[in-house]
């Protein structure tokens, strides 16, 4: 279906070496020196953001990157590894967000209510993913994309209409458990000049859960199960002929991916202390995810990290740059409009198209190629 996106290493040899790092990364190393450096850089900066930068803007950006890494990685499991395009990913993202939001808003700001909301969200996501999968993965693969698009937009409309439950267009704001509130202090004294408050704890909760889910997804794609998914991507017919039930595998992949997206949604809601249709359910987020996966590199989990980090940074800081350029070109017809700060998606869209044609492996694929 797609040209070879990434060349899986002969992982059996590398597996013998063992070691903690090896088992953490499921023997799937970045396989490029530059890529490794970038990934280590992103990891270190994300891990130390509260101590490296001051103010709330960098911390929010870092939190957003963490959430999107999980979201994009889970989407890549479907798109890059299984070769199916789902547009319902934001739906599961939204379910996670609403699970936390409704739980904390209705049942009070405790860990138990957050847990209940989260578990209900996970269950709902799993059921929906199975239902959509069994219904639409039987038919031709492109129908799946269209069906998921229709279902997702129906869900978005439903969420904004059922205002008694979801808060409608306004969304839900809620209180967090006490340990995650800004007023909470873990230690009386600042550590390295930084006050360890509830906000910081919330960030590290987000960071470690994201890291955990990401490593789990890395494990999934490098398991025998993941190999079957890739076999289905390369040639559905042959995979079926070898005795693998393609529908079952695809459905399982979409359930795993849906659950991970639900976790991401829950994390985002915890961080924002708010959830609404625009933050998790809107179609523009779906487009953002697509951009991140393809630009970062389809079929490589590390591409999700690169894509998410690059995209969120571009979203926050590219617009400033374009604003400067736009004012500099004022007076020329149309040109200032094209590099107006609001038109940043135009350029990322162009980059997206070029990525699909010229380097289907995205940035990660490119870096790995230059290594060889």
């Amino acid at each position: 279906m797609s040209t070879s996106l990434s060349q899986p290493l002969a992982f059996d040899e590398s597996r013998k070496r063992g070691g903690i790092l090896n088992s953490l990364l499921s023997s799937d190393y970045p396989r490029s020196r530059v890529l490794s450096l970038i990934l280590i850089g992103i990891f270190v900066v994300l891990a130390l953001t509260p101590f490296l930068f001051s103010g709330s803007q960098p911390l929010s950006t870092a939190a957003k990157i963490c959430v999107f890494i999980v979201l994009v990685a889970s989407f890549d499991l479907l798109l890059g590894y299984t070769g199916i395009v789902s547009f319902a990913h934001t739906m599961f993202f939204g379910i996670g967000g609403y699970g936390i939001a409704i739980g904390l808003e209705r049942l009070g700001a405790t860990w138990t209510s957050a847990g209940i909301g989260f578990l209900v969200a996970l269950a709902l996501s799993a059921v929906l993913a199975v239902a959509i999968g069994l219904l639409s993965l039987r038919v031709r693969a492109i129908f799946f994309s269209m069906i998921t698009l229709a279902v997702a937009s129906a869900m978005a409309v439903l969420a904004s209409q059922l205002s008694t439950i979801t808060g409608g267009e306004d969304g839900l704001s809620f209180q967090l458990p006490y340990a995650l509130r800004p007023a909470f202090r873990l230690f009386a004294e600042p550590v390295f000049g930084v006050v360890i408050n509830g906000r910081l704890i919330a960030y590290y909760l987000l960071f470690f859960v994201s890291l955990g889910v990401f490593l789990l997804l890395l494990r999934v794609v490098n398991s025998p199960f993941g190999r079957v998914l890739q076999a289905i991507r390369e040639n559905e017919f042959r995979a079926e002929a070898l005795g693998y039930r393609v529908v079952a595998y695809r459905t399982a992949a979409s359930v795993i991916s849906a659950l991970a997206a639900t976790v991401a949604g829950a994390l985002l809601a915890l961080w924002l202390r708010y959830n609404g249709p625009d933050t998790t359910l809107s179609f523009s987020i779906m487009i953002d995810i697509l951009l991140m996966v393809v630009i970062g590199g389809m079929g490589t989990m590390y591409g999700a990290v690169i894509g998410a980090a690059l995209f969120v940074l571009a979203q926050s800081y590219l617009q400033v740059l374009m604003g400067v350029g736009s004012t500099a070109l004022a007076g020329i017809p149309l040109l200032p409009n094209l590099i107006h700060p609001d038109r940043w998606l135009l350029w990322l869209g162009a980059l997206f198209i070029i990525s699909v044609y010229a380097f289907p492996g995205g940035i990660v694929g490119r870096l790995r190629q230059s290594q060889q």
Partner: protein, 339 residues
Amino acid sequence: MSDMAAQSTASTEPLPRTKTDWLPLALVPALALIALPFIGSGSTWVTLTVAGLAMGMMIFLMASGLTLVFGLMDIINFGHGVFISLGAYATLIVLGPLAGWAQADSLGLNLALLLLCILVAMAVTGIVGAVFERVIVRPVYGSHLKQILVTMGGLIVAEQAIHAIWGASPIPIPLPQTLRGAFVIGDIVMERYRVVAVGIGLVVFIGMQLLLNRTRIGLLIRAGVENPEMVEALGYRIRQLFISVFVAGSALAGLGGVMWAFYRQTLTAGMGMEVMVLVFIIIGGLGSVGGCFVGSILVALVANYVGFIEPKLALISNILVMALVLIWRPQGLFPVARR
């Protein structure tokens, strides 16, 4: 020429006629009848049915291009929605200098304006469609995954380009004077514009059916769907055929866009993508013009009836219809021969 072909066929052995599949066609009246007792009042039912038919026609106009392209070229164009938006924005080219025609209290002048809008929009979307086919779609023939991705990319870029050219804020466009309001017959209310939409939808549907089934071009297109290599081997340039079908599909999207724009009376770059959701629901019928027609009307009628009985469930009910159709006929309402 088509007459000659028909005669020569008739003079030799009569071919076995293909059976017309009546079941999907019967769905529409069946649905309308089932809805009647739930709605209760007869006049409300007629009003809803007529409004639903008109809505279905507009959806059909927007979906027909996609159907054509999908049926012949096996290409799924997720950027189709942007051609709808583009067609809608193209009305501004006409409405700018000819604003007086819209104000005039003359049916002839108003309809002429509508027609002019449609022609300009079709020209614009046709040209952009040709470029789109060349730049975006051609390199990814045969790979559905890449088609979805790359046409989504085209959608993003084109939507942003619309923002850059016409501005990002919604633009109101007025409906021509005599097309506003409604016909009232007893208790039955029919919006005038919807009647016009039904007329145009029917013309396009019949035109497409005639073109596909009664002309040489149509014959080639249908043959191309069945077996492109054979058509090529017989000396026809299938590429030219593909391009012209893509351009025609885009132009039809532009036509649908104009109708949709005057119906909504506001222009936004995302308007095409919004309606694409409905179009995708009709996928039960994608690939054949007849299936697309029946699917559009089915979806619009269900949305209208359910919207009247329980407004919040309107879109969900459409999803349900789609699910049922897919369970009933996984290959579409009127399955197209697949290579």
